[in-house]
Each structure stands twice: as structure tokens, then as C-alpha cells.
Amino acid sequence: EDVKLVLWSLDRDIQPAPNLIKEFNAQNNGIQIEYRQLQFDDVVSEAMRAYSTGKAPDIIAIDNPNHAMFASRKAFLDLTDMIQQSKVIKPENYFPGPLKSATWDNKYYGVPKATNTIALYYNKDLFKAAGLDPEKPPQTWTDLVATAKKLTNPSKNIYGITFSAKANEEGTFQFLPWAQMGGATYKSINSEGAVNALTVWKQMLDEKLASPDTLTRSQWDSTATFNAGNAAMAISGPWEIDRMLSDAKFQWGTALLPVPGEGAQRSSAMGDFNWAIFSSTKHPKEAFKALEFFASKDATMYKNFGQLPARSDLPVPPTGNALKDSALATFVEQLKYAQPRGPSPEWPKISKAIQDAIQAALTGQMAPKAALDQAAAKIKSIDG
């Protein structure tokens, strides 16, 4: 009788989980995995509901900022020992950012599944049209603002830049790198660097270098305006590459996120999911075996599914498309500076405080400093 495992993730048919499971099941090694696809918004609540009614799956793919919430409550299985003995999963092979997101209290409660981050896309044709050097994307914040100003052309419906400051996790995801480059962390969100970062954002909106709809538009929709030629630069992640290749009718390039000033420390947000095993599983060993199998496939992750493995030991293989390869190179470089959000079990609330501050400042209802002060106070009370 085969051991039956249940695995939940939000991967669709062209994404890793269902395909890896197919392969895994085909091995016939006495373990069969059953797959259920979830929606992004539902992963946590479904998992919670299932866990509290004793119907949790064995394995789940969880968004990295939410990992700590489960780990801190011991809802996930502590994998430290198993990882130590594993021949496949070795902590030192992973980028530190992703690994940190799966860590709580110095123990490993999961394994990074894939990773991503954000960088700058820019429209080379528009650069040329504005008399800018298409091979010299902006390097610093001032540079960025100045470039955006030059690119902005209301008569042609072109904004200098597009990004997302939406009142949800995406807003935090986009803003946090800026704050971190300014030397802040979520615990010191009102430090000067963060205030500067927010001030720059505010400037871009106030001067209409970015569309006012930045406040309510997701990253995906924002970048669509870039693809449609209505924004000259976009800040977004590698998930855009394929769509851009097909939709963008112009030359484009990528660059690392600009920094506050020449030579300042780089930083970046870190996205994507981690694998975790629920502590309620009846088959921890078998479940870990599955994780090992998935990790063993990290090398083909990019080739097969277009996702970046969270591994520093694996090179991203060339795809044959020069544009794509160069974009990927940018993201792999950017990943080196990627930091997890949190980790904190209260991350959603912390994130909400940050979003509120961003929105309050960008709509002009509070000064950036005051808004971030308020957020800091809130985060303090949440984080204890």
C-alpha cells in the first residue's frame, strides 16, 4: 500500500508543482502525491482552516513572508535535523535571503522553492527619443527622477516610470527595497533613509512622472502600461519577461534598482514561495523525500518553468534568447541583495502599517515622515 501525501500550492499546469509531482509519482517509490491548486489570496486562510480542523495537507508551498507565521506556531515541521542528514538539500547552496525566510529561531522550517526580485525595465526607444543613452540606465535615485522627468511626455500619454504603490502586499514589496537601500529595516521604518525613499516616491507622483493610478494598480497592470508604450521605465520582476517579449513592440533593457547615492548599499525585495511540511503530517519522512526530489530538480527549474531557483550553486542556463538572458542576468545579480520581508509571524499586520504609511504620504494626507512615524509606532506595538 502506497503512502499518500497531499500537497497544496498555487502552481498552475505550466508551473513546477503539478509537473514535479507527476514525475515523482511516476517513480513508483511507494509514495503517491495528490495535488491541489490554490489561489494566491487563499493559501494562508485555507491552510489555517485546514490545519485547525485537522485536515492540513502534508506539504504546502507558502509565500515567504507568511512562512514565519506558521513556523513560529510550530505548525510547520522543524526540518533542521533532516536537512543536516540530507545529501540533496544543503543550506549553503541557497541564497541567504530566501533561506532566511524559511528560518525561524535558527531552525529550518522549510526549503526555498524558487525566488524572484524586482529590478528596473526601461524602454530603449523612448530613451533614444528623449535624447538619452539607451545603454545608460539611471543608477541613483536622483538620476532616476531626472531621467523620468525627461521621459515624461503628457502629450503622448507617456509617463517616465511605472511601479506599484497599491494598498496591499505589492506596495510593501516594492517599497521595502527602497527603504532598505536607505538603511532602514521594517523595525526602523521611520529612519531617515526610508523617509527619503518615500519622499522620492512622492515626488514622482506629485510631478506626474508616474501615473496617479500607481496608487491602485498592481505590478502586473502597471507593467502592462510599460509594454503598451505608455511608461518609459517599470519596476517589476522576472515574471514579466515572457509577456514583455511578446507584447512590447520596442527595444527594452533591464538594470539594477537605482540606489540612494553613488556606491550606496544595494538591496532588493525577495519574492516567491517556500516548501514546508505541516507538523500534523503522519508521514514526515516521505514528505521530506518529496522535498528532496523537488530540490533535485532545481537545476531545470528555469528551463522548464521560467522560474529562478533560490540556489547560488546553480547557474542559470542560457535560453538562447539574448534579450531574455541579459534580463535574467540582471535579476540574478539583483537577487544577491535580496532580503526577505520579516521574517515575522505578524508580517501581514506590519505590512499593512507600511502600506498605510505609503498611501497616506502619496495622497498628500500626511507628510512622509509623519506617516512613517505612525507606521513605526504601530509596528512596534505589533512586533512587541
Binding site: 502592462a224 509594454n227 509577456r243 507584447d247
Partner: protein, 275 residues
């Protein structure tokens, strides 16, 4: 103004209104034929630059839409049948009397539907898992939808029953009918406008029900189309053209059917009944 001229004018006017109102539907069709980012172009394009008909076949086949639609149909029919079965009689009684108990009943009926599905799902999920109903997920969803939509049905159908003269029911009783017989033969046919329309509304709602289905139906073989639709949405991707193509295939047939069905709302069902 002659009759014909008047009719033409009214028709023209209503076509204009429909055009404005149906714009979102048009946009759905249009986006289905556009490429991903064309939707966000400035100025907006009102005709696809190159129609992507392939999207439809791609969506149909890749998502196995036939199965999804079948599940939606099963769930919608189940829910409508159960709601009509339980709700019609309830509405009738609440319309027939006028006392404190009816007041309380109506009040409760409204309160029963105050919570949005997203808040109901947790307790219902917990409860269903305890009694083992989750083993029959489509049935569980039907039950949940019934609980959610029946109050709606009852309140509306009650208003329809109010228009059926009590005397007709009395005549049937004197003619030798039992209460049940009079209800089915006389009262129901005369209230059919409201029942039909409410049932249509419920059917459409159940056909698109999403919150319960996605939580309770974990087996993809049993999931309805609404859940399938969301599979084009990712954390950082939304395949709008595919979503719209999917929605087009999902919405157009029911809309067509109900445009036909609702025509049966005819006026004055009870005229001539009473002096």
C-alpha cells in the same frame, strides 16, 4: 405620432441604452481577442488590432472547460432545486399570514443572509468537516449555497405571493382540494413570474459561485467553472485575454438562455379572476 413611429423610437432608445449598459460585456468579448497588454493602451482601442481567435480553443482545451461547466451546471441546478423546494413554501406561508410570527420569520430570514460568504465559509467548513459532509464536496457546496441564497429567494417570492388573491385558493379548497393541492394547482402557477425570475437570479448566482466551491471542492475534477476561471490569475500574472475568453464561453450561453426565459414575465396573471 403613429404607433409604428413610436415603436421605432422606443426600440432605438432601448438599443442605445442597452449599448451603454452592455459595454462591459463588449469589453469582455473584445479583450478576449486582444493581446495581453493591448488592454492597457492609451488611447483605448475599440477593435482588436489582430483578433486572437486561438485564445478560445486554447482556453477551452487547456482548462478542460467542458468538465468545469458541467460541474457548475450540476451545482447550480442542485442549488436552485433545493432552494425552490424549501423556499417556495416558506415564502408562501410568510405571505399568507400577517402576525408577529411572520414578522419574526421575516426578520430572521434577512438576518440569516447578512454575513458574506467569505465569513460564513469558516464556520461552515468546520461544521461540515465534523459531520463528514466534505466527502461529498459538490453536495456540500449545494447545501452552503442554499443556506446563503434561500433567504433572498424567500423574500422575493413572498412579494410575488402577495399578489395572488386569497380567494382563488379558497375557491380551490371548496372545489375539493387539499391545501397542498390548492398550493400547487392554483397559487404556484399564479406566482410563477416571481418564482421564475428569482430562480433565474439564483441559478445565475449559483452558477458563478466561487467562495464556497474553491474551499470545499478540492478535487479539480469536481470544481466548477468559477474556480477554473481563477486559475489564470497568479500572484504576479493575470492572463486577461484568457480570463475574458474563458468568461465569454462561460457567460454567453447562460445569458442567452435567460434572455429567452425571462420573456415569460407577462403582465396581469390574475386579471379576470375577481369581480
Amino acid at each position: 405620432m403613429s404607433e409604428i413611429a413610436r415603436n421605432r423610437l422606443l426600440l432605438a432608445l432601448s438599443v442605445v441604452m442597452a449599448a451603454i449598459y452592455l459595454f462591459p460585456l463588449y469589453w469582455m468579448y473584445l479583450t478576449a481577442l486582444k493581446s495581453g497588454s493591448e488592454m492597457f493602451a492609451t488611447p483605448p482601442t475599440f477593435w482588436p488590432s489582430s483578433a486572437q481567435w486561438r485564445t478560445f480553443t486554447y482556453v477551452w482545451e487547456s482548462r478542460n472547460m467542458g468538465r468545469y461547466l458541467w460541474n457548475s451546471t450540476v451545482i447550480a441546478f442542485g442549488a436552485v432545486a433545493l432552494i425552490a423546494f424549501l423556499g417556495t413554501g416558506c415564502a408562501y406561508v410568510l405571505a399568507r399570514y400577517r402576525n408577529v410570527w411572520v414578522d419574526i420569520g421575516l426578520f430572521l430570514i434577512l438576518m440569516f443572509q447578512v454575513l458574506p460568504a467569505s465569513l460564513m465559509i469558516t464556520p461552515i467548513f468546520v461544521g461540515f468537516s465534523q459531520v463528514g459532509l466534505l466527502e461529498y464536496p459538490r453536495f456540500a457546496v449545494i447545501l452552503a449555497i442554499t443556506a446563503k441564497s434561500m433567504p433572498f429567494f424567500v423574500v422575493l417570492v413572498r412579494a410575488t405571493f402577495m399578489a395572488v388573491p386569497m380567494e382563488l385558493e379558497e375557491a380551490a379548497l371548496v372545489d375539493g382540494n387539499s391545501r397542498i393541492g390548492a398550493f400547487f394547482n392554483i397559487v404556484l402557477p399564479l406566482a410563477r413570474n416571481g418564482i421564475l425570475v428569482s430562480a433565474i437570479l439564483i441559478f445565475m448566482q449559483a452558477f458563478g459561485e466561487f467562495v464556497y466551491s474553491k474551499s470545499m471542492i478540492q478535487d479539480i475534477q469536481l470544481q466548477p467553472a468559477s474556480v477554473g476561471l481563477n486559475s489564470f490569475m497568479g500572484p504576479n500574472t493575470s492572463e486577461w485575454n484568457n480570463i475574458m475568453a474563458y468568461a465569454t464561453m462561460y457567460v454567453t450561453p447562460i445569458l442567452a438562455i435567460f434572455v429567452l426565459l425571462q420573456r415569460r414575465i407577462v403582465s396581469g396573471l390574475t386579471s379576470g379572476a375577481l369581480k
